[in-house]
């Protein structure tokens, strides 16, 4: 696109920038004249949904964001949480949904790159990554292509950059057929007193461009991400950025070296809306104007216009304000790492965002208004409908419990994700203590003898669809349980809210209710939201995705010698159920996979019960009572037992008191765990449960090579493992490929 800066501002041009009439009137008032073409692009970039959160801001403000350990909450590049000894963990989750659907490899790769940059922009060295992926139904013609591209893109970037991917989620549902979700999480470590933020300070200081050169890739990406898809999607391919993980790795090292040299006053990565967003952010936060000269911006394509340079989303770029006396030293550091370094502007005291290109001023806008005056909508919403509870007897029992368990273990949503995580480097950096396949990934804190961090990403979209409020609570509760199950104290969380078109009151209603649920759960479980991202307009031809508010949680393990794992149950251990008999089969995977239905209410989440049982299990793990632990979620008790058996290679013999066998085995009631306890501690553990008022049942012992539950289930661990491990490779055609390679 080469449009002259004097191009006439027509209603069509305004509409194509995603700006409505009312917003344009406001832009006219704030600009105090008709905007130039470049200025229109800048307004559009700052005011689109992706950058301005204009539909969600009102509701995001209701989330708990504070806590004794929170150093920086939402508003910075990533959240910062204290983990003691002057160390902080810096983390965030962000979506790259639309680009990944258009161009799966690059979309996913640059999603990983973007979130890593958010973390190291704050001065933290990335130590762990996760990915929450949602694809369409397995049989949809695009699904394999998307899975293959996204997984190799995630691996291609993260592996090359050198960060271990220690967890994540992969789910399939027809409602993602036209709009997949790629939510990337990254966490890093820093010292508490060495955190960097975007607020610039001081007039007349150099604004420095660092990293890779600017190209035309990604021009208008953030605006694209703020609109629904339709059949013209293939035309949007040029809006996807291209990643270069090696440059990012060099950028990481150069930035950390530069920060250690004391040269950095403010830093902001160029993510969505690139140079525009980063420069406005730095200036507006610091009550300063910014003057940029685009002739000094390193470019890799010829004849780029000011508009293109301001809106390019080329990757691996940073903007900084540096101490002038350190400029030469800074330049040497960047040259050493083979990166571009250019002074492209200066901070001013006039609060204007002034852009010069080829001897002409192409934009001059009020910098504070660009961000602060972004529209904030109280969009109409309707309270989601509710379902009446459904008793177990309303659901048919299976004809054959063994067959039902096998079917579930080999189903798309419950089968092993080994095919995925074996494409991610999980060991790099040498600190990974728990890999994907357990409840949460665990990474040791480098330089500390005992400390480790646990990471988990969770949401059950079918629950959120059925009941956004309960589903929102459940996402947080499951994340909390997964952290607890490793022996980690949940510290805080990041939220990645993926919804459809917020201009539809029923979609807005989902968002409002889910945020209410998330907020209540975060409050009750002491997991403040410290960072996050909102992705709206996830619709194709008018059909919305399942509402998917992904929660990425971080927990602290004070002593990793006393953590718990899913795979360490040993012969003779006594298996305890923490919680009671399940009765909830509505919207369970049993209902979907065995009864071919998805309906009814989501399971209730009792937050007080979650907290009480979580506290109890955490204390038990820390007291070294638990030889293994696993949370009970998708698929219910029978699946959780099977997963423990498969992970440890041990059988179990269980006797369970049941009223309705099918709901007891497959019901998805919340706030439940399995704990394996060495026989010698079993009585004491039971006494502790009683003493703490925690519901429990002694349900079996570990041993043999079969999972046996009452007279209902009797299957060998080997058969379960074969079924569990085969679905994904078979789905991706691995067997055919392996045969061809022979």
């Amino acid at each position: 696109m080469t449009v002259n800066n004097t191009a006439p501002i027509t209603p069509e041009l305004i509409a194509s920038h995603g700006i409505n009439d009312e917003e344009y009137q406001r832009i006219l008032e704030l600009t105090e004249r008709e905007p130039s073409f470049t200025e229109l692009g800048i307004w559009s970039a700052m005011w689109n949904e992706h950058c301005s959160y204009k539909s969600s801001k009102k509701w995001l403000k209701t989330l708990p964001t504070d806590g004794p350990r929170v150093v920086y909450g939402p508003g910075e590049n990533a959240g910062v949480v204290d983990i003691g000894d002057d160390d902080v963990v810096v983390f965030k989750m962000e979506s790259h949904n639309h680009p990944s659907f258009i161009e799966p490899y690059q979309g996913a790769a640059t999603g990983v790159g973007g979130i890593l940059r958010d973390v190291f922009t704050m001065g933290a060295r990335p130590i762990a990554a996760m990915n929450a992926l949602r694809f369409g139904e397995p049989d949809h013609p695009k699904t394999r292509h998307l899975v293959s591209g996204v997984v190799s893109g995630v691996g291609g970037y993260g592996n090359s950059f050198g960060v271990p991917t220690v967890g994540g989620e992969v789910n399939f549902h027809p409602r993602y057929n036209g709009n997949i979700l790629v939510n990337a999480f990254a966490a890093g470590l820093a010292k508490r007193d060495a955190i960097y933020v975007s607020k610039a300070e001081g007039v007349g200081l150099p604004v420095v461009y660092l990293g890779a050169k600017t190209g035309r890739d990604g021009v208008g990406g953030a605006t694209m991400a703020s609109a629904e898809f339709d059949d013209s999607i293939e035309e949007k391919r040029p809006t996807v950025q291209v990643g270069d993980p090696f440059t990012e790795k060099c950028l990481l090292e150069a930035c950390l070296e530069l920060m250690a040299s004391g040269a950095v006053i403010a830093i902001q990565d160029m993510g969505a809306a690139g140079l525009t967003c980063s420069a406005v952010e730095m200036g507006a936060r610091g009550d300063l104007g910014i003057r940029l000269n685009l002739d000094d911006v390193p470019v890799r394509e010829e004849n780029m216009t000011a508009y293109e340079m301001m809106l390019s989303e080329s990757q691996e770029r940073m903007l900084m304000v540096l101490r002038p006396e350190k400029e030469e030293q800074a330049k040497q550091i960047f040259t050493k790492w083979g990166l571009d370094f250019a002074v492209v502007g200066v901070t001013t005291d006039d609060l204007r965002f002034s852009i010069h290109h080829q001897g002409e001023e192409v934009a001059n806008l009020p910098i504070k208004k660009l961000g602060d005056e972004a529209p904030e909508y109280d969009r109409p919403w309707i309270e989601p409908g509710t379902h009446s509870p459904q008793e177990p007897h309303l659901f048919a029992p299976p004809h054959d419990y063994n067959a039902a368990l096998i079917k579930l273990l080999g189903s798309p949503d419950l089968s092993s994700r080994r095919w995925v995580w074996e494409q991610y480097d999980t060991w790099i950096q040498g600190n990974s203590l728990q890999l994907p396949g357990g409840d949460a990934g665990v990474v040791r804190v480098e330089g500390h003898d005992t400390k480790a961090l646990a990471f988990s990403s969770d949401v059950t979209p079918r629950y959120v669809e059925a009941d956004p409020y309960q589903g929102g609570k459940q996402a947080v509760a499951e994340c909390y349980r997964n952290l607890i199950a490793t022996g980690a104290e949940p510290l805080a969380a990041t939220d990645n809210l993926n919804f459809g078109n917020p201009e539809k009151p029923e979609i807005m209603g989902q968002l409002v209710a889910a945020v209410r649920g998330i907020g209540e759960a975060c409050e009750a479980l002491s997991m403040p939201i410290v960072s996050g991202n909102v992705s709206l307009y996830n619709e194709t031809n008018g059909e919305a995705i399942l509402p998917t508010p992904t929660i990425g949680g971080v927990g602290l393990i004070e002593d990793h010698a006393r953590m718990a794992r899913i795979d360490t149950a040993d012969t003779g251990d006594v298996v305890f159920l923490i919680g009671t008999e399940a009765t909830h089969l509505a919207n369970s995977l049993y209902q979907r996979e065995i009864l071919f239905e998805e309906s009814g209410p989501a399971p209730e989440v009792d937050l007080l019960m979650e907290r009480a049982r979580g506290d109890f299990v955490l204390a038990a793990i820390r007291s070294e009572y638990a030889s293994a632990c696993h949370d009970i979620s998708d698929g219910g008790l029978a699946i959780a037992l099977a997963e423990m058996c498969m992970a440890s290679g041990e059988g179990m013999r269980c006797e369970i008191e049941v009223t309705y066998p099918h709901s007891a085995l497959f019901g998805e009631d919340q706030a439940r765990y399995l704990v394996a306890v060495d026989e010698q501690w079993a009585d004491m553990f039971a006494a502790n449960c009683e003493g703490s008022g925690v519901s429990f049942a002694k349900i079996g012992t570990v041993g043999g090579d079969r999972l046996i539950i009452n007279d209902l289930i009797d299957i060998s661990v080997e058969d379960m493992t074969t079924t569990h491990e085969s679905w994904f490779p078979a789905f991706m055609g691995e067997t055919a490929l392996a045969a061809a390679a022979e």
Partner: protein
């Protein structure tokens, strides 16, 4: 790798920059893993032409022990210090998993603390680890005992010829291997099978083998 060496030997290794033209006096030079130059041309191809590799070649000639792990192995084959080549994995995807390694030759400082034929655990994590050499070269390195490690018990993750996971040069002072022994050197890694490789390479023989 730096952390593993520091923990095993008790002191931190000296780092060399890719543009250096000389190496400090050392008993062991390690080229670690890690997508040098993004693997954009071929894995290790650009690194093999870095100025520092001339100094590495000189050190090899002087008999200094050289270890290349993963991308380091690729760099050593690309620079001609080791025979053969590492092609894209047979499955065409990156593969990160634990494999079994059999010690094919323990008559060498690097493998001296293992038993010949011993099978150890070791992680792999690579996209281009499919070892290939022409028939003549393969016959030579097999005949001369230059195969250091083989993937064992059907765990070949990448299609390597003869299950080759690591090889020595003819003189025996240069070892290249795709697996990552440095990620299995302490109990927190769930095992220490990789530790003896570094103890052997550094002649830390008084340390009791695990």
């Amino acid at each position: 790798m730096i952390a593993a060496i520091t923990k095993i030997s008790g002191h931190a290794p000296t780092l060399a920059w890719h543009t250096d033209t000389a190496l400090p006096d050392s008993e062991l030079v390690i080229i670690p893993g890690g997508f040098s130059h993004g693997d954009y041309l071929r894995a290790g191809a650009i690194a093999a032409r870095a100025p520092v590799m001339k100094a590495v070649a000189q050190a090899a000639e002087n008999g200094v022990r050289i270890l290349g792990v993963c991308n380091g192995f690729q760099t050593l084959t690309e620079s001609g210090l080791l025979p053969g080549a590492l092609m894209r994995n047979a499955g065409l995807t990156f593969v990160c998993k634990e494999v079994k390694l059999q010690i094919a030759n323990n008559q060498n400082p690097f493998t001296q603390l293992y038993q010949e034929g011993e099978i150890i655990r070791c992680p792999v994590a690579h996209h281009d680890g499919n070892y290939f050499a022409d028939a003549k070269t393969l016959e030579r390195i097999e005949g001369e005992g230059q195969v250091a490690f083989r993937y064992a018990e059907g765990s070949n993750p990448n299609g390597s010829l003869n299950d080759i996971a690591g090889i020595f040069n003819a003189r025996g002072n240069v070892l290249g291997m795709m697996p990552h022994p440095e990620n299995l050197v302490e109990p927190a890694h769930s095992g220490i099978d990789g530790k003896r490789l570094f103890q052997g390479a550094l002649d830390l023989l008084e340390v009791e083998p695990a």
